[in-house]
């Protein structure tokens, strides 16, 4: 390993250590999380705490995922060979399948432009869902917080609407809300506007509810079965790995579908 890469790995390791220390300091006990779920939910409505309060655990776990992703990307991307090794094969498989998906949905030329965004959303959400499987104290999925998923949903909505305005011009974009001409179009206008908000809402809450519901369910089952290990493993395989994968894929596919509706 060259000196520069050693330094980068060292810096990455120190960042992970700092993040983990931060989590240990602000630890919220796992068992009490069942009762504290409403606290984190009401944080976003600004009812119990001020609007500017922060969910420390969510932020620290998000930083952890970002650090992991950067380290993986750096270590895999350093030596790209024509005959790929294992890690390169896996990453190429993910990226190329999303490339085909984007090319099929958006058309070959536009698909490449949105490929980085969609695949980044997928990888981030996938890792966020899967990091909850690790049974280390303090590590939980950042997507179990409505703030994370709502933020991601709003980003996807802004990308979709922005692309629509850029491709079609503002007048063309607005004309879509009044789709069939005449009086019926004007009646459709409020329905279309509410539909846009419903899309963003359902997009975020689907991911949030699935992940939070799964993790609360596992907590409750673990308590009921008095910390029986096989129960934990089996349910983590289903709720953690499978649901995490499916929900991440659905999230990214829906983001792609919303973009393609606006851009098409």
């Amino acid at each position: 390993m060259s000196k520069k890469s050693k330094i980068i790995y060292l810096v990455g390791f120190i960042c992970l250590l700092c993040i983990w220390t931060g989590m240990m300091i602000h630890i919220e006990p796992q068992v009490k999380n069942v009762g504290e779920a409403p606290e984190k939910i009401t944080n976003i409505f600004g009812l119990k705490h001020s609007f500017f309060s922060i969910n420390i655990s969510t932020i620290l776990n998000s930083w952890l995922i970002i650090a992991i992703l950067i380290l993986i990307a750096y270590s895999v991307g350093r030596k790209l060979t024509k005959i790929p090794g294992k890690a390169q094969t896996i990453t190429e498989f993910i990226i190329s399948s999303f490339d085909h998906l984007c090319a099929d949905t958006l058309g070959a030329d536009i698909g490449r432009k949105y490929l980085p965004f969609v695949s980044t959303v997928f990888i981030f959400v996938l890792l966020s869902n899967w990091i909850g499987i690790v049974p280390v104290l303090g590590i939980e999925e950042p997507t179990r917080d409505l703030n994370t998923t709502l933020g991601l949903g709003l980003i996807c909505a802004f990308v979709a609407h922005g692309s629509g305005i850029k491709v079609k011009g503002f007048k063309g974009y607005c004309k879509e809300y009044i789709e069939p001409g005449g009086i019926i179009g004007w009646c459709m206008l409020p329905l279309n506007i509410v539909g846009e908000f419903a899309k963003v809402g359902s997009h975020s809450i689907r991911l949030f509810g699935n992940i939070l519901g799964g993790s609360v369910l596992i907590l409750v089952l673990l308590e009921l079965s008095r910390q029986l290990l096989p129960v934990y493993i089996v349910f983590q395989i289903f709720f953690g790995i499978f649901v995490g994968l499916v929900q991440a894929f659905v999230f990214a596919m829906l983001a792609l579908a919303y973009i393609s509706v606006k851009v098409a």
């Binding site: 069942v34 009762g35 779920a37 409403p38 939910i41 009401t42 409505f45 009812l47 998906l101 099929d104 949905t105 509410v194 539909g195 908000f197 419903a198 899309k199 809402g201 359902s202 997009h203 809450i205 689907r206 949030f208 509810g209 699935n210 939070l212 519901g213 609360v216 499916v246 929900q247 894929f249 659905v250 596919m253 829906l254 579908a257 919303y258 393609s260 509706v261």
Partner: protein, 144 residues
């Protein structure tokens, strides 16, 4: 939650039914049909997830002094989300099932079919969002 589970279950059952039919008739398209079924089911699950969310909120939120009006509002929130999640669950599952059949007939059109299915499901999700919104309103805004 009980009422909300009915809709999602019926809908997803229909999606599974269609996927199995496709597997029987065109075994070569079964992979595509499976993928479509999984995506459609995951989306049809979401009204049930909304109901679960409201149920958890209702079970775990600590309410201070409860008058009769607030008790009635909480009950109403539960029933609202439950019944509101039934319809979209069934409807979205129906869309997923027909999408599976379409993919079975023309696997080459799979991206277009999935895209249309997702858009239709997202629009029919609207009523579930309305119920979610009203349920949250009833839980948090009604006092005394």
């Amino acid at each position: 939650m009980g009422l909300g589970a009915i809709g999602s279950a019926i809908g997803e059952g229909f999606a599974a039914l269609s996927a199995v039919q496709v597997t029987t008739r065109q075994p070569k398209a079964s992979d595509d049909a499976l993928a479509t079924m999984l995506i459609g089911m995951a989306v049809a699950e979401s009204p049930g997830i909304f109901a679960l969310f409201i149920a958890i909120l209702l079970a775990l939120t600590e309410i201070e002094a409860t008058g009769l009006v607030q008790a009635a509002a909480l009950l109403g929130a539960g029933i609202c989300m439950g019944m509101g999640a039934m319809g979209p669950g069934i409807g979205e599952g129906f869309a997923a099932g027909q999408a599976c059949r379409g993919v079975g007939r023309q696997p080459g059109n799979k991206p277009m079919i999935i895209r249309t299915m997702l858009i239709g499901q997202a629009v029919s999700e609207s009523t579930a969002i309305y119920s979610l919104f009203i349920a949250i309103l009833l839980i948090y805004v009604v006092h005394g």
